[in-house]
């Protein structure tokens, strides 16, 4: 199974001219689900998550030749996915600000409420809504810790933030989310 291939092995394969595409497909298959859900929790809508995921993997293709093997592939992929998602959200926010006079509602909370199968009484949906109340950086920290169970040390490399700051941020985020769920 190529999914279980070691990252170093995949990177070596990628550098062999004839095996580039094989290695790249293996990398996608290995990380696609984790990265998809990381992106989807941030951008909410599937089509947007799909766009961001594909764009990030194209960037990976373009940058993989220069990837320094002393850093982890997994961490690097998360960094790119995070940056792509934040760029997408920024662009979206600007468009939303421009079109606000047209009464066009593009808020992510409303996108969640419009999702298929949404149930305002279910804790899982309340959790998604609560996460949207947090600032972007806190959302990232919470998602990486709560859903992906990423150690602070690794998260520190993904988000370029000290472990102490990440711990504090996660604590604040978890408290706020619990408060939101209890009061809504």
């Amino acid at each position: 199974m190529i999914i279980n291939q070691d990252d170093k092995e995949l990177l070596l394969l990628f550098k062999e001219p004839g095996k580039k595409e094989f290695a790249f497909t293996a990398i996608i298959k290995k990380y696609q689900e984790k990265l998809y859900w990381h992106i989807r929790r941030l951008v909410v809508v599937h089509d947007d998550a799909n766009d961001v995921l594909q764009n990030m993997f194209i960037k990976v293709w373009n940058g993989l030749d220069n990837f320094r093997e002393d850093s982890q592939l997994y961490t690097w992929l998360y960094r790119i996915a995070t940056n792509e998602s934040l760029t997408f959200l920024d662009t979206r926010k600007r468009k939303f600000a421009e079109s606000i006079d047209d009464n066009e509602d593009t808020g992510l909370s409303n996108q969640i409420k419009a999702s298929e199968g949404f149930d305002s009484k279910k804790l899982e949906w309340k959790l998604h809504l609560a996460i949207q109340q947090l600032p972007a950086k806190q959302q990232l920290v919470f998602n990486l810790r709560y859903y992906d169970e990423m150690p602070y040390e690794e998260m520190s490399r993904v988000l370029d933030t000290s472990e102490g700051a990440l711990k504090a941020s996660y604590h604040h985020a978890a408290k706020k989310i619990e408060d939101y769920i209890l009061n809504n």
Binding site: T25, Y36, R40, H46, A174, K175, E178
Partner: protein, 230 residues
């Protein structure tokens, strides 16, 4: 014996020991029950073995996540009760199975467009090269013209400056009634020191040296000669 046997016979029909009512009716069923229960002394809940693997895995997961779980238990325990599976958000069927070919397609379409761009880039580079040659030639010609014009203008400017400086000083002197226009000495004294020294040096030069200087500097007109000397 006959007498005894008659008594015994009478006693035989009298039941001194009592048995529970319907004992024999249920005896067989009771024995069967005991026979069956010998093979299964302990009873398990319904579907116990069906769920066992999942229950153990869930416990293993909780133990492996202990750091994250324990941490959240201290901050916001409610969140530990919420399912973390991704069943709330829907995504198209077989999305992950078809994702990689899609990405490869996008990537290969990029390669095709790069090939097109390459063709245009070669054409543009060729046009650019021709334009560059033309522009360089034009600039060189223009520069030569400008240099010639600049040299002439510079010389004219310097000569005019010197002339105007002398005029100004002479006018000032006239206005102050300090010098007579016919007195050469006085005029020389009113000229700036550096100009005076130049004139002295020119006077000390021989005709040959002067001609060499003039020919080296392309000064040919009589006006220019008179301007320098004046």
């Amino acid at each position: 014996m006959n007498k005894d046997s008659k008594i015994l016979m009478g006693l035989k029909n009298n039941q001194t020991y009592q048995i529970p009512q319907g004992y024999f009716e249920s005896l067989a069923a009771n024995i069967l029950l005991r026979v069956k229960s010998q093979s299964r002394t302990f009873v398990t809940p319904n579907n116990y073995f069906d769920n066992l693997a999942n229950n153990i895995l869930a416990k293993v997961k909780v133990e492996n996540k202990s750091e994250v779980y324990t941490e959240l238990q201290q901050i916001a325990p409610l969140l530990n009760t919420i399912s973390k599976n991704n069943s709330t958000y829907k995504l198209p069927e077989n999305y992950f199975q078809v994702l990689s070919p899609k990405i490869n397609y996008k990537e290969s379409s990029k390669v095709v467009s790069i090939k097109k761009v390459y063709k245009y880039a070669v054409a543009a580079a060729f046009i650019g090269f021709i334009s560059l040659v033309y522009v360089t030639k034009t600039i060189n010609q223009t520069n030569n013209n400008i240099a010639i014009q600049h040299n002439i203008a510079l010389k004219t400017d310097v000569l005019q400056e010197i002339a105007s400086l002398q005029d100004v000083m002479l006018n000032n002197a006239v206005e102050n009634d300090k010098v007579s226009l016919t007195n050469e000495e006085t005029v020389q004294n009113t000229t700036p020191p550096f100009l005076g020294s130049v004139q002295e040096e020119i006077e000390q030069l021989s005709d040959e040296e002067l001609n060499n200087y003039l020919s080296n500097n392309n000064i040919t007109t009589e006006k220019e000669i008179s301007d320098i000397n004046s």
